[in-house]
């Protein structure tokens, strides 16, 4: 099997054949030519007739991808298969690209890598997905795909109507805004059809499918979904984002860029999108991902949470005792300390115990009644992120961290100057001890 590492367009030659064909057939005619679930028919027609020699498949090698790729392999195993090598995939996905390609005999899988200069420039710390997932998708998906598609008159996607509301009006053939034909053979397939097809053809599952992932994208932006949840609800969970922008339809129904005012998480001096969602009472521990699990819930189902492989947060309520999870802190990528009212100072003790006594080094966020004038105190107790809803506090933070206290009368944890470099209880830069 041949795999081509590729980040440049394969060829710059522009084709008009696709759209001419489409015009010739007329999109309405085209879309009424096939029975709704005749995916193979649609695919064969696109490959052999409509877009012969100028068609590619774009596949995520996700949970359902095997179905479409299997059909492709039966028609033309040499058809170019484009896989967006975003650099942020689960290792399981990368392995799956290999095993599935081999199994199906796909001979022309092309890995599209993002531009390395752009990565260095815009995402040096690999955390752009947190602060601006749209920009991240732009660099890692849209630009590479745009470049690669330059040589094609159209492409095949595995989208299905039932996946999201936006996809509810999907048809077999679309004319995209950049004048390409997009072919959606599976448009009318249901979850059950997919499952049945997989079974009939004994297709290998994506390794993460068994763990509750129904729609799989990049690792940071994917979480599992619960039974009954929309399969794609695990993507960009908690963010106002449903499409990564590569499915730029005629109707332009991709999610808009996030409004600045919707960014509520203040971290490292700026407001960023909060990748964490709200824990919902009753969520099975194995399905909890990217949520702050209440401490009491965690303690009750401790073993199940510890067995789960997914990013997990902890919510420390005002009355909770953090010492109860002292040995589990390594499990959490974020801990939220709750301040139910600004006058309730219990969270300060919890934060110090976490940061100082227990040595927790990850994100420690304050949630609840987080106000400007308390933030300096919280910082001194080790809190390093703040979920802010209070408008005036937001304004103050946008102007710069308010009331930053830079001389301290007593030692507390955090990034302060170590003991021994100044008078006993004090903390400040450039301070010398005086005597009467």
């Amino acid at each position: 099997m041949e795999m081509i590492e590729q980040s440049d367009p394969i060829s710059a030659h522009q084709t008009n054949a696709g759209k001419d064909r489409l015009r010739a057939f007329g999109i309405i005619t085209l879309n009424s030519m096939f029975a709704q679930k005749d995916a193979s028919g649609v695919l064969r027609m696109a490959i052999e007739d409509l877009l012969a020699d100028e068609l590619a498949v774009v596949s995520s090698f996700g949970a359902d991808s095997a179905v479409l790729l299997h059909m492709v392999s039966k028609i033309d195993p040499n058809l170019p298969i484009l896989f967006l090598q975003t650099g942020r995939h689960f290792p399981q996905t990368l392995a799956y690209v290999k095993t599935l390609s081999k199994r199906l005999g796909l001979a022309n899988v092309r890995l599209l890598a993002p531009d390395s200069d752009e990565l260095v420039r815009f995402d040096p710390d690999e955390d752009l997905w947190k602060s601006d997932p749209n920009a991240c998708c732009h660099i890692r998906k849209i630009v590479p795909l745009d470049k690669a598609l330059g040589g094609f008159g159209g492409w095949v996607s595995g989208r299905k109507r039932y996946q999201t509301e936006e996809r509810g009006a999907l048809s077999h053939f679309e004319l995209t805004s950049d004048n390409r034909i997009k072919v959606n053979p599976l448009a009318y397939w249901e979850g059950a059809d997919i499952a049945a097809y997989k079974k009939t053809h004994d297709l290998p599952e994506h390794p993460l499918f068994a763990e509750g992932f129904a729609s799989i994208g990049c690792a940071p932006c994917t979480s599992a979904v619960t039974n009954g949840e929309n399969p794609r609800s695990g993507r960009w969970r908690g963010l106002n984002k449903a499409e990564c922008g590569i499915h730029f339809d005629v109707n332009r129904r991709i999610s808009p860029a996030m409004n600045k005012a919707e960014l509520t998480l203040f971290r490292d001096g700026e407001f960023v999108a909060d990748p964490w969602g709200k824990w919902v009472e009753g969520t099975a521990p194995v399905l909890a991902r990217y949520v702050h699990v209440p401490l009491v819930e965690f303690v009750v189902n401790r073993a199940a949470y510890l067995a789960s492989l997914h990013p997990l947060g902890l919510l420390v309520g005002a009355g909770d005792d953090v010492m109860e999870v002292a040995s589990d802190l390594g499990r959490f990528s974020s801990i939220a300390v709750e301040f139910p009212a600004f006058t309730d100072g219990r969270g300060y003790s919890s934060a110090r115990l976490l940061a100082e006594r227990l040595g927790y080094k990850g994100e420690l966020r304050a949630v609840g009644d987080v106000l400007a004038d308390q933030i300096p105190l919280m910082r001194r107790c080790g809190v390093n992120a703040f979920v802010v809803s209070h408008a005036a506090t937001r304004k103050a933070l946008e102007k710069g961290v308010p009331g930053r206290i830079d001389v301290f009368m007593q030692p507390a944890g955090g990034d302060e100057i170590p003991v021994g470099t100044r008078a006993f209880v004090r903390r400040a830069p450039n301070f010398t001890v005086s005597t009467p």
Binding site: G345, Y348, R380, G403, V407, F408, M409, V425, A428, P436
Partner: protein, 551 residues
């Protein structure tokens, strides 16, 4: 005394700048009163019945003349020419304008004073013995430790939003003049068998609607561990103190509900973790702070008062010496208490002119040192015995020569309904009436030491629970009534007074006090048996009977 270094100065300047900004935001309307409230409280600014009130901290009651002059200046410039010294060794200004407050704070900062943490649910100004560093009965001067506690507790990031306010008092003498057992934490100097000095720690004392005498949580905590121990208590309190009911939120309730043993266990286990860490107080740091409180350059002198002779030659002055001086550790010196309780006056008030006089005297006769006592008087701690006469005359000239310290007219009195928004009843006019009734020197002499304390409501700012005779303003169907208690004691044998019976109206209060005093004078075994002694011996019954008959 302690002097700010660059660090303290920056710290306070930063707070002034911060509050100036907050006041501007309030005045511009950006902050609502609701949002401004916690911020102003952190800076000691209350909204009272008629106006804002600014409470300025006098750390552990110690000042110099420059500072007192500044307070006089503030009283004159921004207020109505007086200030009110409180039972927390602070001073309150009752009529500042909001837009003047930032200016007042920066004037205070210029003399190393501030209003930080004089209110709010944080660790308040640490109070101590007004004779600290001077008293003959002292084991150790508590002020260096008080200063270290002040630093540790200033804007403590963890303990700025406690369940409720938190008060610490510390005394270096076995005779407790700081009412430590009525504080959330009381510290009393102790000497172990090797002569090492440390602190007995009492916890859970307080007044208010559930008065409690503090209990000993640890008999001896060495200097080096003191902050770690305090931090442990505060952490346990911050985490477990009740927050559902503000009247049950003080640590005394936690002690009461959980029991001292449980609390001690929690504190000790926290202490095991905290001890020996960053809060360990190194000896050289203690010495560094101690150096600020080095005794002044006393002159060798063997001057003493000859009271017997004075009583004949100058009975007025003899009275002053008897009541208003306290035995000094240094031969030839004494501490003078300046009574802010002139007969018929407002207890604790001092005019700007009086403050200037006292500041001059401190400068001339007391090594520039001054104290505020929790009994709302001022103190010149180090006066040469040979100078006392001169001081006395100067004080008399300023209307400050009242020789009533410790006597029945030296009352602790809260502001009451004249100023306080929470009050049920007036306290100042009642105090003034009692003071007039017992004003005569001979009468007071006859009665001896007797402490009356008056609060305008159950919050007990006037410490009525701890009064030998306590008076509490209550309200019943729109009428101001007063309950009388007897048997309270703020000293080392701390006790809470018992209510004698139903409330009486203001006009009846002086008579009632008079009756109680009469019973005492009749029943006492001799002049040396004070009110509490007699009460203990004869019980409350005769006193109750005197007020309410046999019903």
């Amino acid at each position: 005394m302690y002097r700010y270094d660059q660090f303290d100065a920056e710290f306070v300047a930063g707070r002034v700048a911060q509050f100036t900004d907050q006041v501007e935001r309030r005045i511009s309307g950006e902050l609502s009163e609701d949002q401004f409230r916690p911020l102003r409280l952190m800076n000691g600014l209350y909204l009272q019945l008629h106006a804002y009130m600014l409470r300025v901290a006098v750390p552990y009651g110690t000042m110099n003349s420059t500072q007192l002059r500044k307070l006089a200046h503030i009283a004159r410039t921004y207020d109505r020419g007086y200030g009110h010294f409180t039972t927390r060794q602070n001073i309150q200004f009752n009529w500042p304008r909001l837009d003047d407050v930032p200016q007042i704070l920066s004037e205070l900062a210029s003399v190393e004073m501030h209003a930080i943490q004089t209110s709010g649910n944080c660790i308040r100004n640490v109070t101590t013995d007004q004779f600290a560093g001077a008293a003959a009965d002292e084991i150790i001067d508590p002020r260096p430790v008080a200063e270290i506690i002040r630093q540790w507790s200033s804007l403590h990031p963890e303990f700025s939003f406690l369940p409720r306010k938190f008060k610490i008092a510390i005394t270096g003498a076995p005779n407790d003049r700081a009412a430590i057992k009525f504080h959330d934490i009381g510290l009393m100097a102790q000497q172990d068998e090797q002569g090492k000095v440390g602190w007995a720690v009492y916890v859970g004392g307080g007044m208010g609607r559930t008065p409690m005498v503090a209990k000993e949580i640890s008999p001896f905590v060495p200097h080096s561990d003191l902050l770690a121990y305090l931090e442990s208590i505060l952490r346990v309190y911050n985490r477990y103190g009740r927050r559902d009911n503000k009247y049950k939120a003080r640590i005394k309730i936690l002690v009461h509900e959980e029991g001292l043993a449980t609390l001690r266990e929690q504190v000790e286990s926290e202490f095991l973790q905290v001890r020996g860490g960053v809060l360990n107080l190194p000896d050289d740091e203690l010495s560094r702070i101690k150096a600020y409180f080095a005794p002044p350059a006393f002159k060798d002198s063997d001057a003493r008062f000859d009271l017997a002779a004075l009583k004949v030659s100058d009975p007025e002055f003899a009275r002053f010496v008897l009541h208003n001086t306290n035995q000094h550790a240094q031969a030839g010196y004494t501490s003078i208490t300046i009574s802010l309780k002139p007969v018929g006056g407002v207890p604790g008030d001092a005019t700007d002119a009086q403050m200037e006089v006292v500041a001059d005297l401190a400068q001339r006769f007391s090594f520039d040192e001054l104290r505020v006592s929790h009994e709302q008087n001022l103190v010149l701690p180090h006066v040469a015995i040979d100078d006392v006469r001169a001081v006395y005359e100067a004080l008399n000239g300023a209307g400050l020569g009242e020789a009533n310290v410790g006597q029945i007219t030296d009352m602790i009195v809260c502001p009451g309904l004249d100023y306080c928004a929470l009050a049920n009843a007036r306290s100042i006019p009642v105090a003034q009436e009692i003071s007039r009734r017992f004003g005569s020197a001979r009468r007071q002499e006859e009665i001896g030491d007797l402490k009356i304390k008056i609060s305008g409501c159950i919050n007990a700012c006037g410490h009525h629970h701890a009064g030998h005779i306590g008076i509490l303003g209550v309200e019943k169907r729109g009428t101001e009534l007063y309950q009388i208690t007897v048997g309270g004691n703020a000293g080392e044998n701390a006790a809470i007074g018992n209510i004698l019976g139903r409330g009486i109206v203001a006009e009846e209060v002086p008579d009632a006090i008079e009756q109680l005093v009469e019973i005492y004078l009749k029943a006492r075994s001799g002049a040396e048996e004070n009110f509490l002694g007699t009460l203990k011996r004869v019980g409350e019954a005769p006193f109750r009977e005197a007020l309410y008959g046999n019903d």
